[in-house]
Amino acid sequence: MAFNYDQYMRPGKLPHIWCPGCAHGTVMKAIIRAIDRVGLEKDRTVIVSGIGCASRMPGYVDFNTLHTTHGRSLAFATGVKMADPSLNVICVAGDGDSLAIGGNHFIHACRRNIDITMIVFNNNIYGMTGGQFSPTTPHGRLASTTPYGNPDYAFDVAELSMGAGATYVSRGTVYHAVPLERQIADGITHNGFSVIDALCTCPTTYGRRNKLGSPIDMILWFKDNTVGIKAAQKLSPEEMEGKILTGVFRNDIKPEYCEEYQKIVEMAQGG
């Protein structure tokens, strides 16, 4: 039987604002299936977002949902989690939201290892404002503010997260929706800060300008240009040229922030 998404959707809140061909819905569905897979209670789950296309996602789903200011979702989420560590806290954010304006909050959430799951809807562009380049727009690509090609170099979300101390780091794509769901589920159950770099597509403001073909072509591109972390070990550097690594890059155990703070509470109370 097909998965029943309705049980997690808010009646009357569709259609969504995303453009035809946008892959954000695929990531949203992977998140819903992951939540269902690990059995989170709707009342005990808080989904937090910032600003941008991805950040409208919490409005569609039936949890405690918080749509905040640009880039600040992790800062709000940190307050939520610290105020009640028994809540399940998930952040959803685009690449611009989480890594440019929210870059400071991102690296510090990684460093603290607070038990929040961060899903980056990474479509390499600022979609909602009309296609300006983002911190993950590849060098040389066209955007509405890089008419001669992007002079900036892109962040590798996974490398950045690991460098900053996140204890669960993975990358999936909307072509590989089932492994993406599994990674999100792992991220939710992981006790610490989890980052899932969810590669998705913006055909309207990115694909069209860079002549990447139809929405389907853009999704199929992931099939041919990504390599799973295990498969990559068997490939030569030449064969790996231009390929994007996917899979789970890190899954470490390290003391979680709220649990560490609980020890401080006990110490302060003379326990």
Binding site: R44, T65, G79, V80
Partner: protein, 377 residues
């Protein structure tokens, strides 16, 4: 007032006042001259089962207290001028989403990094108009260590009851001065909590005002699932741009304040028979003003004093009343003239208005004010 006598610094009084009011979350970022609040709460909050977190910046600190408040915890942050500039983005978010929280701004010189250890009163207009968009502003300006304690409790109470952020505006002088104060016994000061819903969760509308101007607020995680957004929203909390819904909501946010002036407004007004001069001053400048007025009295010059404890909404009534009694109002403030504009706006030429201003990092002395009083008599 019965209770424990202590010798406290202004910033310590704020931290203790917050705990007394039931604050159980502090998110902050260190900045002089407010740091003692964070330092004290980092020790005290875990003792009472609360949480302290030093965030990565002032923006995050403000965000964290809103997040914690949505889970039901009374929350505080403390900062100074440059940090306040950063908090303004999320202050607006708290206004439109109606999330109670308290922000202490211990003013220092500016603009920019300014005078980190010098006092100032130059955030008067920022406190009112800092965050973008039309929004209500409630700003309390205590002038003594005891008053910082009491006004901190009142700030939480007002914030909870009206579901809006409240700013405590002090300065380096009262933030760092020490005075004997009395910490009231538990129960001596009334403590208010936000209105919470009593309807079944499936019927809950987070911005339903059918039963009053301040809608009940559920805690995240309590079984009432709802959506919060900084976008203009309807009673259900979901975004709307319908003019017929947006304008009444914006007006209601302001009305929460304008219709509750009895609860919010507080001032001291001393009138002296035959006074031709009045002084309008708040915070540490009001302390100098009191000394100046005493000296003027000894010289045979009677002077009225108006000291707003609530700076915003601005005490229009008492200012107009004073203007009706005196010929000249002297406005001492540690800035180049901010509050003076409000005085002039209110009294519409009913009296002459002159400023006493200093921005050199030193306080306005009683002598500075006395000299101006003598000049205008």
């Amino acid at each position: 007032m019965s209770g424990k006598e202590v010798f406290y610094q202004g910033n310590e009084a704020c931290a203790e006042g917050a705990l007394y009011a039931g604050c159980r979350f502090f998110g902050g970022y260190p900045i002089t001259p407010s740091t003692e609040v964070a330092e004290l709460l980092s020790r005290r909050l875990p003792k009472v089962g609360g949480a302290f977190i030093q965030m990565e910046d002032e923006i995050a600190a403000m965000a964290s207290i809103i997040g914690a408040s949505l889970v039901g915890k009374k929350s505080l942050t403390a900062t100074s001028g440059p940090g306040m500039s950063l908090k303004l983005e999320n202050l607006g978010f708290a206004c439109i989403t109606e999330v109670p929280c308290v922000i202490l701004n211990v003013m220092r010189g500016g603009p920019s990094t300014g005078l980190p250890t010098g006092p100032s009163q130059s955030d008067v207009m920022q406190a009112k108009w800092g965050t973008h968009g039309d929004h209500p502003a409630i700003v309390l300006t205590p002038a003594s260590v005891q008053e910082i304690f009491n006004e901190t409790v009142r700030a939480f109470n007002i914030s909870e009851r009206l579901r809006t952020p409240v700013i405590l505006l002090t300065d380096e002088i009262i933030g760092h001065m020490r005075e004997k104060i009395v910490i009231p016994e538990k129960g001596e000061l009334e403590i208010w909590d936000r209105p919470r819903p009593d309807c079944p969760p499936e019927e809950y509308l987070p911005y339903d005002t059918s039963k009053g101007i301040v809608p009940p607020m559920a805690d995240f995680g309590s079984g009432y699932r709802f959506h919060v957004t900084g976008l203009n929203h309807d009673a259900s909390g979901f975004p709307t741009n319908k003019p017929s819904l947006v304008e009444p909501e914006e007006e209601r946010l302001m009305a929460k304040v304008t219709e509750n002036l009895d609860m919010i407004e507080k001032y001291e007004y001393f009138q002296k028979d035959g006074a031709k001069v009045g002084v309008m001053a708040f915070g540490s400048s009001a302390r100098s003003a009191k000394a100046a007025i005493k000296q003027a009295q000894e010289e045979g010059i009677p002077v009225d004093l108006l000291r707003p404890v609530t700076l915003w909404p601005y005490p229009e009534g008492p200012t107009i009343e004073m203007a009706g009694r005196v010929d000249t109002i002297v406005v001492p403030e540690m800035n180049l003239g901010q509050m003076i504009n409000e005085v002039q706006r209110c009294i519409e030429g009913r009296a002459k208005v002159v400023g006493v201003n200093r921005v050199d990092g030193d306080p306005i002395t009683p002598e500075n004010i006395l000299q101006k009083i003598r000049e205008v008599v």
